[in-house]
Symmetry: C2
Subunit: 116 residues, 2 copies
């Protein structure tokens, strides 16, 4: 069993092309012996966003803090704010972005452990 | 893509033996077409707890609100409070309980979708 606080999770800048002002941490991952599921936490600063991309696995999200949006396959912006859950299906093009100009947007992103 | 707010998730009482004052909702589950991961949300009222049990799959948790504890295999109570992540490994005996006498304890529980 592992229990760890959000404040203790080391976060590093995401340098993937298309990312801007995003940090990532991995509170629960393959290194912890999880058999199936990993959990990452992303902090997106005002003006920031993740890459607009797709991949062959799903994201299961929960927004912890702030106000953001998910840009969909068609370019639509769907609000995604603190207290919301989201499912992005495999191969659905998507981008998460912070829609506030003053506070960070913080969200959980669970994936199959093969991917993190 | 599905986006749904915590307040919109229907929660029903957990009637499993050993549960007390617990409600469960499923914001993201097999019905949404998720290929690997489901997410449940549990609300445990003051004095309440989940069953003290084990099963052959992991739990990946995030505590959204309140103060609780996870009772471990050996009976130890490990604090598990808002802002904490937890990993309960397959076959590890565990119980979640609310340690406050005044406010609900709300937590996310991700599992392989075969189990929910």
């Amino acid at each position: 069993m592992k229990i760890t606080g959000l404040a203790s999770v080391e976060q590093v800048a995401v340098t993937m092309e298309g990312a801007r002002d995003v940090r990532k941490g991995i509170p629960i991952g393959a290194a912890d012996g999880t058999p199936n599921l990993s959990v990452r936490v992303f902090t997106i600063d005002p003006g920031g966003h993740t890459p607009y991309h797709r991949h062959p696995f799903e994201h299961v999200n929960y927004a912890i803090r702030g106000t953001g949006a998910i840009v969909t396959e068609t370019g639509e912006e769907r609000p995604f704010v603190a207290g919301d859950f989201a499912l992005v299906l495999p191969d659905e093009k998507h981008r998460y972005r912070n829609t506030s100009d003053s506070e960070p947007f913080v969200m959980i992103c669970a994936v199959p452990k093969e991917y993190e």
